[in-house]
């Protein structure tokens, strides 16, 4: 008996591992395509980079020299090979920005990464808690006044552009009510944990940005959670639980809730790109020097290598997030893995 269970567990582990490896290679493939795109876009127009840096009045000779010095006139394959080798070594090229000229890109963007990551993960936590609560109550009290009102509110919030919401929240909560400051103090430290420390030491500053990102996130999540709980409440195992005399609360939390929450993990992973886009706007509005604000600055300064590197890093984070979500759910819920998603 015990041995049987052990071998079943081993088999289970094997299947999950197998799935995880497959999923890992899928993610790697996606990253390969993305890195090709971030390589290809600048390589298509080497003159553009030169013009962007040297200005429109640069002579053709100067442009040619610039292109030659940076190896932009070599064949695509050679350039791509160099690009990938550098990428694997963590070398993202050198900046073309006015202030950070010729500094390694990795060094320029390094301090900005954890700030955005903490902002996004903080808002993810809030949006999961809020949307699970709202969605569940909507599902239980289906077609009640609460359900309809929430559906309407969520729909409007769902279509609310990030910049309008953050701006209106500043106008209302900060300029009118004076509850929260309208911007975040510029960070003093660059460590990985320092953004979290700043969040904990001055939560009022982060209230509005986090609220904006949370509101952006809960639209889709709440809708999904409502549908998910409705689906599980009509399942056979819920009926069985009711029939054997479980209290309604126990049915809800022990049987329905756990199963309904699982698929949410996938949706969380899928909502990451939108969240990073929202973070870009939010950082700009609240003057928080994260990856988003740096992207806007670098775009204005036409610092192509920095923008490309930022795009790549954000995408890597997204892909990793999706991968973790898929693998996590495979561990937690074997049915999804066995039913062969993808």
């Amino acid at each position: 008996m015990a041995q049987n269970q052990t071998s079943r567990f081993a088999c289970y582990c094997f299947v999950v591992l197998n799935y995880s490896i497959r999923r890992f290679f899928q993610g790697l493939l996606v990253l390969l395509v993305v890195s090709f795109v971030t390589f290809l876009l600048p390589a298509l127009m080497p003159g553009n980079i030169a013009r962007a840096l040297l200005g429109n009045h640069a002579t053709q000779a100067a442009v040619n020299q610039f292109v030659h010095e940076r190896g932009l006139d070599q064949p695509f394959v050679v350039q791509y090979w160099h690009y990938m080798v550098n990428l694997v070594h963590g070398n993202l090229g050198t900046s073309l920005g006015a202030v950070t000229l010729d500094q390694p890109v990795a060094q320029v963007i390094g301090p900005y990464i954890p700030r955005t990551l903490w902002l996004v993960s903080g808002s993810l936590v809030f949006s999961v808690v809020i949307s699970v609560l709202i969605g569940m109550f909507q599902g239980i009290k289906r077609n009640s006044l609460f359900d309809h009102t929430m559906t309407f509110i969520i729909f409007v919030l769902f279509s609310f552009p990030a910049f309008l919401f953050s701006m209106l929240s500043i106008i209302f909560f900060s300029l009118t009510l004076h509850w929260f400051p309208p911007s975040i103090d510029s960070p003093t430290a660059n460590g990985f944990w320092s953004p979290l420390q700043q969040m904990i030491s001055s939560p009022a500053q982060f209230a509005l940005p986090l609220m904006t990102l949370t509101v952006l996130g809960i639209g889709g999540l709440t809708r999904f959670m409502r549908g998910s709980i409705l689906d599980t409440m009509v399942q056979d195992y819920v009926r069985t639980a009711r029939a054997k005399g479980c209290s309604p609360n126990r049915v809800l939390f022990r049987h329905a809730f756990r199963n309904a929450v699982m698929p949410l993990i996938t949706i969380l992973g899928l909502s990451l790109p939108g969240l990073f886009g929202g973070a870009l706007i939010t950082e700009q509005v609240f003057n928080y020097p994260g990856m988003g604000q740096l992207t806007v600055q670098a775009t204005n300064g036409r610092d192509v290598p920095v923008v490309m590197a930022l795009t790549l890093i954000v995408t890597v984070t997204t892909v990793l997030g999706n991968m973790l979500a898929d693998i996590g759910i495979a561990f937690a819920d074997p049915r999804i893995r066995l039913s062969g998603r993808r």
Binding site: V34, T38, N48, S159, F160, P161, L175, V296, T311
Partner: protein
């Protein structure tokens, strides 16, 4: 135009649409969809609002004349509050805000529309081709879409703008060429659901080629999805354009768009020039919400058609 033709065509129970356009109890398909759509009061109000904004932007300037291009004439009225001759005040360059709303709205709507058209054409073509072909080609094509979808859209747009700069044409191209990935995925699903249906098999057995099947039989049956996707694409591209404008990367002067207006207004908000922010924000927000309501109602209307079939 062609959308309507196909819809009407479908209603007349043409044989080639037998599986896609059957009609319940003598009610034509288009009327049936109109019935469901118009039962949704929010969607009707939204539709009226969108039409109102269109009229405002395109017919409005015929009745309300204002200087929108000559900064040498406008410097005396910089940041004027609402009052005589300036119903909604003037902006930081002295241009009349009411007229500015129409002027900016025209470029926002036009760019949004053109970008949506480009992304729809590519997305529909790509998605239907991938879905219809299936197999290895399909999975390669879709892996590419997966990869592009995992790049956060705004970052991608900024990367392209950093590289190519910005002008009206470039913004249209950028928004169109990088906005179709989601559409392609939806259209592929649609093509897969259609490609093995009886009417397609019938055409194939009669010797119809792939081109004919896609063009005459699959494409007309995806019109409902296309219209819905198109509505959301339109909202999406206007929103993306306005976000870019808000980041200071919108259409350069002397042209302008709503996003740039919002950004300029925001800079002056703390000084108290509320008229530079509120009207444009309200107009824009209601437009986006309206588009989403319309898209949602269309999906419902088409779903009803499918359910009652």
């Amino acid at each position: 135009m062609s959308t309507q033709e196909i819809l009407i065509d479908g209603a007349s129970n043409e044989p080639h649409l037998a599986d896609g356009g059957e009609v319940r109890g003598g009610e034509t398909m288009i009327r049936q969809m109109l019935r469901v759509f118009s039962a949704n009061r929010l969607a009707v109000i939204s539709m009226a609002y969108v039409i109102g904004v269109l009229l405002f932007c395109y017919i409005g300037p015929f009745f309300y004349h204002s200087n929108q291009t000559d900064a040498s004439l406008s410097y005396q009225t910089i940041n004027m509050p609402p009052g005589r001759g300036f119903p909604l005040g003037a902006d930081y360059l002295g241009f009349d805000i009411l007229g500015r709303l129409m002027f900016a709205g025209r470029s926002s709507l036009e760019l949004g529309f053109l970008a949506a058209v480009i992304s729809m054409v590519i997305g529909v073509g790509y998605g239907i081709f991938a879905g219809y072909r299936g197999g290895a080609i399909d999975s390669i094509m879709m892996r590419f879409v997966d990869a592009m979808l995992s790049i956060p859209g705004l970052f991608l747009l900024l990367a392209v703008i950093a590289l190519f700069g910005r002008s009206k044409t470039l913004l249209i191209l950028v928004l169109g060429l990088f906005g179709w990935f989601g559409d392609a995925r939806l259209m592929r699903a649609e093509a897969i659901s259609l490609r093995d249906r009886e009417f397609v098999q019938a055409v194939r057995s009669m010797g119809g080629g792939s081109g004919r099947i896609i063009w005459r039989h699959i494409l007309p049956n995806t019109v409902s999805t296309m219209v819905t996707v198109g509505t959301f694409a339109m909202a999406g591209s206007i929103l993306a354009l306005t976000s870019l404008g808000f980041l200071g990367l919108g259409i350069p002067l002397p042209d302008t768009d709503w996003g740039t207006m919002i950004q300029m207004g925001t800079n002056n908000f703390q000084v108290g020039y509320w008229w530079q922010t509120y009207p444009v924000c309200l107009l824009f927000l209601l437009l986006i919400v309206s588009f989403n309501f319309i898209g949602d109602a269309m999906r419902d209307a088409f779903e009803v058609r499918l359910r009652e079939r």
